[in-house]
């Protein structure tokens, strides 16, 4: 019984998943298309605050969506989290009823060509037994060690450790006999992945100083081995950030730590899609309407940022761990190469002549940004006057064309004068565009993995490898009191 295996296995095994897909498919009545998507997840979590472990939890769920399209019907979709035969049959019947009642004559089913088969990445860095086996006691032990760093300095810490595993399958391509019609395009064989994350905020008792450090990876061992260094960094940042002074808003040279770069780049990374600029919608990559050709031109092929910048993803990269869908181009993709916009992601159904078959080029989820060889210390030493930024919070895009964004500095901001860190500074609200920053680079450091966990249960991994960046003329627009 599937239910048993959920107890024991926490996420569905490939065999259980295969059996489940077959069972549900066999329940379909009246022809037409059927798609079944299964996903399940398990989380082991730990939260602490005020140097006390507060909550440990173990949670899991499963989600099955059946989409039925009877002949001439619309899509009927029903989602359930019960996997017994009776619940599943009721779900399939309900989806069929929905499909039939919205029938439109002449709609038809099954007019899509055969779907290509891409080999999954057998060695993709997405699953770690160490993550899946990290027990509550192991999490508690790491938390205790991290807390001890804060206690030793008389500081208060709050933090979060999490290990999770998830799987998904949509009518696996390993069963060609189950492929039907339009939904076949969403087929995905069984794939499972893990994620681990650790983060810690350290504050002094008066609330006048705050530091933070965090890391995410598919592999719990990386979090475990980095935990001492993370704790120490958060404590040091808290100690050094106490009793900040207010500076005048204005343009400053900034040294952005890798986490700050990742926080700022978020809207840029999510913009690598082809459809919006080609449809004339707001996008940083829309160039102009070409009257002669009657189409929107994009900035593909144009230099958009500093030539030292390359942003790419590679499913074979051991640090990136991309959970590929068979519709995703199973090759490395370079979005920006030496400052030039080279590729934009697109949907599988978008008609682009250059497409090699029916695949999608997914916009960047996981990514790596190229760097340089300047150390953070060197960046500080060579700065006459500037600000060192730990991370950004509450980043919101004000203008989708320039990617002008606003947001806040958080958990450590310092003034640098004549090559030395001289003062802790009150947080600022900034008004700046990631594209502006990437066009005003002075120095780049070594790219490192940052804290970029997927948030919703069952979502795919999105690791990032990002360098520290020193850039000029970064715009800070107002002082905030929040610490």
């Amino acid at each position: 019984m599937i239910g048993r295996s959920l107890h024991d296995g926490r996420i569905l095994s490939p065999d259980d998943c295969r059996a489940l897909l077959r069972r549900v498919h066999a329940l379909a009545e009246g022809g037409g298309d059927t798609a079944i998507r299964v996903s399940s997840w398990w989380h082991g979590e730990l939260r602490w605050a005020r140097n006390q472990i507060r909550t440990l939890s173990d949670r899991r769920d499963v989600r099955l969506t059946v989409i039925r399209t009877v002949r001439n019907g619309r899509d009927g979709a029903v989602t359930t989290n019960q996997l017994d035969d009776a619940s599943l049959e009721a779900a399939v019947r309900a989806a069929e009823r929905q499909s039939r009642m919205g029938a439109k004559i002449g709609r038809g089913v099954g007019f899509y060509p055969q779907f290509p088969h891409y080999e999954p990445f057998p060695n993709a860095a997405i699953w770690s037994d160490a993550t899946f086996e990290a027990a509550a006691l192991a999490r508690a032990e790491v938390a205790r060690r991290m807390i001890a760093h804060a206690e030793a300095q008389g500081m208060l810490s709050a933090g979060y450790l999490e290990v999770r595993a998830a799987m998904t399958a949509t009518l696996g391509t390993e069963f060609p006999e189950l492929r039907t019609g339009e939904h076949a395009f969403w087929e995905q064989p069984y794939v499972r992945w893990t994620q681990a994350q650790g983060s810690m905020t350290v504050r002094n008792a008066a609330g006048t100083g705050s530091g933070w450090a965090g890391l995410s990876s598919y592999d719990w061992r990386r979090i475990e081995s980095a935990s001492g260094a993370l704790a120490e960094r958060a404590v040091q940042k808290c100690v050094a950030s106490q009793d900040p002074v207010a500076l005048e808003p204005g343009r400053y040279t900034v040294i952005l730590e890798p986490q700050a770069v990742a926080d700022l780049m978020e809207p840029l990374i999510q913009s690598f899609n082809r459809e919006p600029p080609e449809m004339g919608l707001t996008s940083p990559w829309r160039l102009a309407y070409d009257e002669a050709l009657g189409l929107w031109r994009t900035k593909l092929g144009m230099k958009v940022v500093d030539e030292r910048i390359t942003i790419s993803h590679d499913p074979a990269d051991p640090d990136q761990g991309i959970v590929m869908h068979p519709l995703d181009l199973p090759e490395p993709v370079t979005w920006i190469e030496r400052g030039v916009l080279k590729n934009l992601g697109h949907d599988w159904a978008t008609e682009v002549e250059k497409l090699k078959g029916w695949h999608a080029v997914r916009g960047a989820d996981a990514y790596r940004m190229s760097g340089g060889d300047t150390s953070l210390d060197e960046m500080i030493r060579t700065t006459r006057r500037g600000l060192l930024v730990t991370r950004f919070s509450n980043v919101a895009v004000l203008d989708g064309e320039s990617l002008l964004s606003t947001g806040l500095t958080r958990d450590g901001l310092w003034l640098i004068e004549n090559g030395q860190i001289t003062k802790a500074v009150k947080n600022f609200r900034f008004t700046e565009s990631p594209l502006f920053v990437l066009n005003h680079i002075e120095q780049l450091g070594e790219p490192v993995p940052v804290f970029r966990p997927t948030k919703r249960e069952g979502d795919r991994l999105r690791p990032a490898i990002v360098p520290p960046v020193k850039a000029r003329d970064f715009s800070f627009t107002s002082v905030i009191d929040a610490i």
């Binding site: 605050a49 006390q52 029903v78 009823r97 929905q98 008004t431 929040a482 610490i483």
Partner: protein, 534 residues
């Protein structure tokens, strides 16, 4: 002609049967409650669910929990669009919380069965024990009266799951057709979301209660010559299908279309930065309240329990501030509740079995209380005892379903109206020179202390008249000053209620509540161009 009881029954039966057929989608979930095989999920009042619940609690107690509670939830969600797309989701979940030596353990899964709930009880206790090395940490749970097997169904007029989804799709399509009959007007999206959750709660103190909770929301946005408005009348509410049918939606849409036409006639001008007298409409005030006082009066945030997630609070020292700290003008009174009929955060009992109540967060401009749970209420014991009040939870423990552990979430908030008969239009009429804003979107810092508001609809006011539409205005504020700058509050007739969603915790949880507020006039609002760089 008389109708016999027999005929009535027959008639009633037929109505019921046809309604069920129209409703079309039977409950697809089955569970194993130990009576030999699978059965459809019974109504939450079922005695067997009670047995299941206490089985979980006992398993946790047997495994060493000093306190344990369990929630079983059965949730249905339905989304319907004007285009006729219907999405149905149904979920069963159970979660057990156990307290061992001051640490909470929590375990949850999607299965209701006798074996599974017992496993979860043991697992929750094990999780708590895993953290319990070293000196015990004292968790004091504020007293709560034991609830003896009570049930509550949120009063709704029409259960939306009893209405045919196709009838609802037709209704939505008719609304968009109605809009398109007026030249130049269009509605981009129309959709409806329905949610019903049946929930059972049992605790090791012997409480047991069950509830059926509803939430309904709709989305309809109007556009006319580049000016856009969202229909505020359909924000999430603790109501059924009557959220749509119980109000004169077409009247409301016509009124909004009329305003859009007026707005489109106004000249457009770019923002001039400076300080202005500003009239904010009710939804702008609700959003401002939510992001400032609603955020800062969460006691767990104040004490750093959310520091690594959504942040802390600009109220730093609760015991020193309570009863004396001036947060706003004396006319400012902010109450909170979880028992207001029709509000999105309304329940009979919270997720710790605490009966919902109304309480005052800000009285006459002075900080009077915080949002609490059973655990966090005890952190204010000194204050409550000192003022002769009982130490009790305000019932703010919530989780979206039994899969998540309850956290303190924002309850319904209500800002008291001013004494005068003032509304948005009459407030504008009283302003010689200033701005008026509708539908402010607020981006606040991680302490709720300072923020930036933006809106697509800002009017310039001269001599009590709207003379232009201002584009690109940003409203910069510090919460500590904002509420001391209130010049006038709208009257009783101008108070409107809006449902809102809030996120909190690690992992993040999203929960719903309502905020009711009148329009407010501020004396000196800092207005900037948020896209202007330093």
């Amino acid at each position: 002609m008389t109708i016999s009881r027999r005929q009535l029954l027959k008639y009633g039966f037929k109505i019921g049967a046809s309604a069920a057929a129209l409703g079309a989608l039977p409950r697809p979930l089955y569970v194993d409650l130990g009576d030999g095989g699978l059965e459809a999920v019974p109504p939450i009042e079922s005695e067997r669910i009670r047995e299941l619940a206490f089985r979980a609690v006992e398993a946790a107690r047997d495994a060493g929990a000093a306190y344990a509670d369990v929630r079983l939830t059965h949730t249905r969600m339905r989304r319907i669009t004007a285009a006729g797309d219907i999405g149905d989701e149904e979920q069963v979940a159970v979660g057990v919380r156990a307290l061992v030596a001051g640490r909470w353990g929590f375990a949850s899964s999607p299965m209701w069965s006798r074996d599974e709930v017992a496993r979860l009880g043991r697992e929750a206790a094990y999780q708590a024990k895993s953290a319990a090395v070293g000196p015990a940490y004292e968790v004091v749970l504020a007293d709560v009266p034991v609830v003896h097997d009570e049930h509550w169904t949120m009063p709704v007029e029409v259960d939306p799951f009893e209405v045919s989804p196709f009838e609802i799709a037709d209704y939505l399509a008719a609304l968009t057709n109605f809009v398109s009959r007026f030249p130049g007007h269009r509605s981009d999206v129309a959709s409806a979301n329905f949610y019903v959750q049946e929930k059972a709660f049992a605790s090791s103190a012997g409480s047991y209660c069950t509830q059926r909770l509803y939430r309904t929301e709709g989305e309809l946005s109007l556009a006319f010559e580049g000016v856009r408005r969202r229909l505020d009348a359909l924000t999430p509410a603790g109501m059924g299908w009557e959220l749509f049918t119980g109000q004169e939606l077409r009247e409301e849409i016509r009124r909004l279309m009329g305003e859009l036409e007026e707005d489109a006639k106004l000249p457009v001008k770019p923002v001039e930065v400076g300080r202005y007298e500003v009239v904010c409409d009710a939804i702008s005030i609700a959003t401002l309240l939510e992001s400032t006082l609603g955020t800062a009066t969460q006691l767990d945030r104040v004490l750093g329990f959310e520091a690594n997630a959504s942040g802390t609070s600009y109220f730093s020292d609760p015991l020193a501030m309570l009863g004396s700290h001036q947060v706003g003008v004396p006319a400012l009174t902010l109450t909170a509740n979880r028992n207001e009929r029709g509000a999105a955060g309304t329940v009979r009992w919270d997720d710790e079995g605490v009966e919902s109540e109304e309480f005052t967060l800000v009285r006459d401009g002075i900080l009077a209380d915080f949002q609490t749970t059973r655990e966090s209420a005890s952190w204010l014991a000194e204050y409550y005892r000192g003022t002769g009040r009982a130490v009790r939870s305000h019932g703010c423990a919530v989780a979206p379903s039994a899969l998540e552990i309850p956290l303190q979430h924002v309850p319904n908030l209500r800002l008291a109206a001013g004494p005068d008969d003032l509304d948005f239009d009459s407030a504008i009429a009283g302003v010689k020179s200033g701005l008026a804003v509708r539908g402010l979107v607020v981006d606040v810092d991680f302490q709720g202390g300072a923020g930036l508001g933006r809106s697509g609809l800002v009017y310039e006011i001269k001599g009590g008249q709207r003379v232009a539409r201002v584009v690109g205005a940003g409203f910069l504020f510090r919460s500590a000053e904002l509420w001391k700058d209130v010049v006038a509050l709208g009257g009783h007739g101008s108070v409107q209620r809006f449902g809102m969603m809030a996120r909190k915790g690690e992992p993040a949880q999203a929960t719903y509540h309502s905020v009711a507020a009148p329009p407010v006039v501020f004396g000196q609002f800092t207005v900037i161009d948020p896209t202007r760089k330093a």
